[in-house]
């Protein structure tokens, strides 16, 4: 049982049949990943445990329909993402318009040149390395932007996998990352300027 690759067709078949040992192996392989990801989304440790448990139970319910086209990890993260969205009551994943788009636009003149320069990397790092400031800024991100940013920059997932988890197109993933990065950048730069 332990010898089968988790991605092998034989193992996928065991998942579909809900073979207890196969389900148990998936739970033991991914529970701590799910818990960490939930913390990264900003949930407290207790809620993160609750989410990890809910995801595994839903995984068991949906296991007969698992086709193995995506990695089982992608399947689990997609369930986590949906549960997290429900918890935050964030239903619209992609807003057509986000105020951060205007904030970024206002940084440039008609010809697309910077109106004022971003602050220097040294000054910026002073704010970014202050854990309290950084946490406030990360907490200000809408969940879908935060998840996209975390998966990309912290977990190092490939773009294609993030698209599958969030159920968005590559273009829309670009929009989410654009908004996440600029929202964080503006927040940190703003806090730096305020402190001066």
């Amino acid at each position: 049982m332990g010898g089968l690759e988790i991605t092998s067709p034989e193992f996928v078949e065991k998942i579909r049949e809900r073979e207890p040992a196969a389900i148990e192996r998936v739970v033991r392989s991914f529970t701590s990943h799910l818990h960490n990801a939930a913390l990264g989304m900003g949930f407290d440790p207790e809620t993160a445990e609750e989410l990890a448990q809910d995801v595994c139970i839903t995984f068991y319910d949906k296991a007969p329909g698992f086709e193995g086209r995506a990695h089982v990890r992608t399947f689990l993260f997609a369930i986590l993402n949906n549960k997290a969205m429900e918890k935050r009551r964030e239903y619209a994943k992609m807003q057509k318009h986000d105020p951060i788009d205007d904030v970024v636009s206002a940084r440039f003149d008609k010809r697309g040149h910077w109106i004022g320069s971003p602050i220097s990397p040294e000054e910026f790092a002073l704010s970014a390395e202050n854990a309290e400031i950084l946490r406030q800024c990360v907490d200000s991100l809408p969940l879908s932007q935060r998840s996209a940013f975390m998966m990309k920059e912290v977990e190092g997932l490939k773009g294609e996998e993030i698209c599958n988890v969030l159920e968005v197109s590559a273009t829309n993933l670009g929009v989410l990352l654009f908004r996440a990065r600029n929202r964080l950048r503006e927040c940190i730069e703003g806090k730096h300027l305020k402190r001066k």
Binding site: P20, R28, S32, H35, L39, C56, V154, G174, I188
Partner: protein, 87 residues
């Protein structure tokens, strides 16, 4: 010629660029101080958020096992008969 606004859009969305666009972006970054700063800020952000995340409360081995056991027990109230990872 790529404008600053277009460079910022390309850098922050991470969208796929053609070879020609990539060359134009690189050229722009070489010549443009503010866009160079912008790119450095994105790198600092990535590193800082990575550190913040690494420092967050993770499960100890004991807590992790307890959570896994609890989840498995909630799915299989009668046990899995042949527990994996357990002897």
């Amino acid at each position: 010629m790529m404008s600053c606004k277009e460079s910022v859009e390309a850098l922050s969305s991470g969208r796929e660029l053609s070879l020609a666009q990539r060359a134009m972006l690189r050229l722009h970054l070489l010549m443009c101080g503010p866009c160079g700063r912008f790119m450095a800020q994105l790198r600092i952000l990535r590193e800082a958020v990575g550190r913040l995340n690494a420092g967050q409360a993770r499960l100890s081995d004991g807590e992790r096992l307890r959570l896994e056991d609890r989840i498995i027990a909630s799915i299989f109230p009668n046990g899995t008969n042949r527990g994996f990872n357990k002897n």
